[in-house]
């Protein structure tokens, strides 16, 4: 019976189910991810008549646009470096033991929540905390007589935005780097101690080099994460802090640059920056997996 069925089905053209199953996804990726991106990339190298030009990219080198890229990069670098350092330390403190057992799962759960708590509500939370009428602002001025706004602090500024971004950057770092820190074997430390290494030497020659690729890779991921963000900054500062995503948003909304293709060039510049940081991340991850398996 079974052999009958299979011999009967052989000559018939079989439906290639695998192809049928994969096609919708491929079509979707092509239409809603690859083509839109390509369209902008190609447009960045075209003039108004569709001819090839590098002029759009050249026009990026104007003070306003360069300044907006620069402030985006500064905020992203600052929030990535600080977030990576603090996040790695918290992850290490949670993983390495010595603390009560419940702390670790609590931190992991909380990091999962906080790393997703971004966008517009995050801006509201920081306005309620460090805005002019915020709880911490009022607390500092009534208890310590310290008026942070008179001291030059402003939430709608580089440091204000960086401080806000850290709220999701630190937990994201905790989530990304914990597996790497878990990969540090106890035996390595014991072996080092037996051979007479100090705590510093252990970190300098063993744990540090093993963790470094993961650490740098995670920091790059945080960088790209902050660089593409817009909602928090927009809700926080309106358009008073001209980061590049807000500039592009204004351009899409109303062609503020009066040049369609210049908008494509700005988008292309962003893809190049996040693309490079992701490429480095992938290379570093390949390196880090050598040790941490």
């Amino acid at each position: 019976m079974a052999s009958n069925a299979s011999s009967a089905s052989l000559p018939r053209p079989r439906v290639p189910w695998a192809v049928v199953g994969v096609t919708p996804f491929m079509l979707f990726a092509l239409l809603f991810l690859i083509l839109p991106t390509l369209f902008l990339v190609v447009g960045a190298f075209q003039d108004n008549d569709g001819g090839f030009t590098l002029a759009n990219l050249g026009k990026l080198w104007t003070p306003t646009i360069l300044a907006s890229y620069w402030i985006s990069i500064k905020v992203s670098v600052a929030s990535a470096v600080i977030g990576a350092a603090i996040g790695a330390f918290i992850a290490y403190a949670a993983v390495s033991g010595g603390l009560p057992r419940w702390i670790r799962p609590t931190i992991m759960t909380f990091s999962g929540v906080a790393s997703q708590f971004a966008g517009v509500p995050l801006a509201f939370a920081f306005l309620a905390t460090l805005g002019r009428q915020g709880l911490v602002t009022l607390f500092l001025s009534s208890v310590f007589g310290l008026n942070i706004y008179a001291q030059g602090f402003n939430l709608l500024s580089f440091w204000g935005l960086t401080l806000t971004y850290l709220y999701f950057q630190i937990p994201l770092m905790v989530l990304i780097v914990t597996p790497a820190i878990e990969g540090l074997r106890k035996e390595w430390r014991e072996a080092a101690t037996i051979l007479g290494a100090s705590n510093w030497q252990y970190w300098r020659h063993i744990a540090g080099p093993v963790l470094l690729p993961s650490f740098l890779g995670a920091a790059l991921l945080l960088f790209a994460n902050a660089f593409g963000a817009i909602a928090t900054a927009y809700a926080l500062t309106g358009s008073s802090l001209n980061i590049v995503t807000i500039l592009l948003y204004a351009q899409i909304r109303g062609d503020v640059l009066h040049d369609q293709n210049l908008g494509y060039a700005i988008a292309f510049g962003m893809i190049v920056i996040t693309g490079l940081s992701n490429l480095c991340y992938i290379l570093l991850r390949v390196r880090s997996e050598r040790w941490l398996k």
């Binding site: 010595g98 517009v120 306005l127 309620a128 630190i170």
Partner: protein, 260 residues
């Protein structure tokens, strides 16, 4: 070793303060609407706002459609790539990571240029097709997370053996996916779904630039015009995110308990 442990406590303490203080401050702020007394007035105002109700419902609906649509295209793809088309894996990995490389605002910019009213496929012409475009945008945003959770789910079960067993009993490909694979990766799919929900519910960039009345643009509007209501909304948004993540934890813990 004692000093070491102290350092750990300090790290945890600072971290906790940094994350709890803004939440406490937001909550306190949200209660200040009536002068001189703490009250839930801001929440009452928000919840009674018809625009809140309509935009929130809209976004919830959008999130549900996004999850269903996303799963419908990702699950069969991930299954067949795992089973037969291993060659495609590097390409799929690349595509599913792309939304983390290309910022959301760039993707939606591409949509607006590619699918505007004067293009071959004018999706922005009608409300329905714009909603479809927005859904596609959200599937794109959620793609890295959905794919990763499904892929993890598929790797945890022996897809090949299950498929061959089902095939030898005469099951078709559709039956295998629907009755064998889906029940086995249910918890992975649920985790991916709730994460997607948390991402979509307050999303701002896509909805705002496609001019749809979603919850994210509503939040922004309230933030620009009101004082205490935004804080109340932030508390509610945090509760929603917390609920989604909490559910994911429970699901994955149960999954571990079921397949130790």
């Amino acid at each position: 070793m004692k000093t070491n442990r102290l350092g750990h406590w300090i790290a945890i303490l600072i971290g906790t303060l940094y994350f709890v203080v803004p939440l406490a401050a937001t909550f306190e702020f949200s209660l200040r609407k009536l002068r001189g007394v703490y009250s839930f007035e801001a929440y009452r105002v928000v919840l009674a706002d018809p625009q809140f109700q309509s935009s929130f419902t809209f976004s919830v609906g959008l999130a549900v459609v996004t999850i269903i649509f996303g799963m419908a295209i990702i699950v069969p793809m991930a299954y067949f790539v795992e089973l037969r088309l291993r060659k495609l894996r590097p390409f799929v990995e690349f595509v599913t990571l792309l939304p983390l490389v290309v910022p959301a605002i760039v993707i939606v910019f591409g949509y607006l240029r590619l699918y505007n009213s004067s293009s071959i496929l004018p999706l922005t012409n009608s409300t329905l097709s714009t909603n479809f475009l927005l859904t596609c945008g959200y599937v794109t945003l959620a793609l890295p997370y959905m794919y990763r959770s499904i892929e993890t789910g598929l790797r945890a079960i022996d897809v090949r053996t299950l498929t061959e067993a089902a095939e030898s009993l005469g099951a078709s490909s559709g039956t295998i996916i629907w009755r064998i694979i889906l029940p086995n990766i249910r918890s992975a799919m649920l985790s991916g779904s709730f994460l997607t929900f948390a991402i979509v519910i307050g999303e701002f960039t896509f909805a705002s630039l496609l001019n749809r009345p979603a919850f994210g643009p509503y939040l922004q509007l309230i933030g620009a015009n009101r004082a205490y209501e935004p804080a109340a909304l932030a508390c509610m948004a945090f509760m929603i995110t917390w609920a989604c993540m909490g559910i994911i934890q429970v699901i994955s813990r149960n999954a571990v308990a079921a397949h130790p």
